[in-house]
Symmetry: C2
Subunit: 147 residues, 2 copies
């Protein structure tokens, strides 16, 4: 192929294809590992971690939402499921009657740690085992530019 390409942005498309595939491959590994361990999906982990970090005071849904880049209704329904599973609890906010305060329960903390064990192992095999140590920083720096 020595001819000049007649279609612009071929390079960007190639980057996007690699980005998509890498993402899918890693995500599948993590989700499959969690599923095999009969643990909740990855999305639950992120919320549980966020709530765990917020501590005993809990937090407002809209704060969590902003940090996790989820749509408003998405978080609302995720919390609904997490509450049904007894991993979080919601109660009316005292200062703002429109809102709720969200808390992680003891059971939620426990399951988050169980998930982390699996998650960590999956990351090790999906990332550490594939990428040389010297590759992580450059990769992160390049990915950060896309945001």
């Amino acid at each position: 192929m020595t001819q000049k390409r007649d279609t612009a942005n071929y390079g960007a498309a190639e980057v996007w294809v690699q980005l998509s595939r890498a993402h899918m491959v890693v995500q599948n590994k993590i989700e499959n590992a969690l599923k095999a361990a009969k643990l909740p999906p990855l999305a639950w982990y992120d919320i549980l971690l966020e709530l765990d970090r917020l501590g005993a005071g809990g937090g407002r849904a809209y704060e969590v939402q902003a940090r996790l880049l989820l749509p408003q209704y998405g978080l609302s329904r995720l919390l609904e499921r997490l509450e049904k599973a007894r991993y979080v609890s919601r109660k009316k906010s005292a200062e703002d009657g429109r809102g709720k305060l969200i808390f992680i329960t003891a059971e939620g903390k426990k399951v988050r740690l169980e998930m982390w064990e699996i998650y960590r192992a999956a990351l090790r095999s999906a990332i550490d085992d594939k990428l040389p140590e010297t590759g992580k920083k450059p990769l992160m720096a390049l990915l950060a530019q896309l945001q």
Copy 2:
């Protein structure tokens, strides 16, 4: 934070977070651009491109499936929708009575090109405008290692 971390694989987790965010950001830009142009979602593009490449002879679903990394039922239903939209047609295979041959229609080719115009512009602003030209090759090489 001068203490040694007590949790292993923190580096891999950071890479994964960046990878997820970069992926989400780019994907949202592309999907939003397509939506704004009242065109079908990105997933349709990939199939249409694949079928377009297969040419007049068409192709079998399981072949396309392997290349696109979709679950079997996912492709089956995607093709169902694409057929309903008149962008592809399916007919019984002559050699293998279990299977179907899949073809892209003229309308399918047309819409794929319309999508490409939008897709290309979105890639330009999401990738070319963010990443220096010298960053693409290294990024692709690093991402390729994760597969």
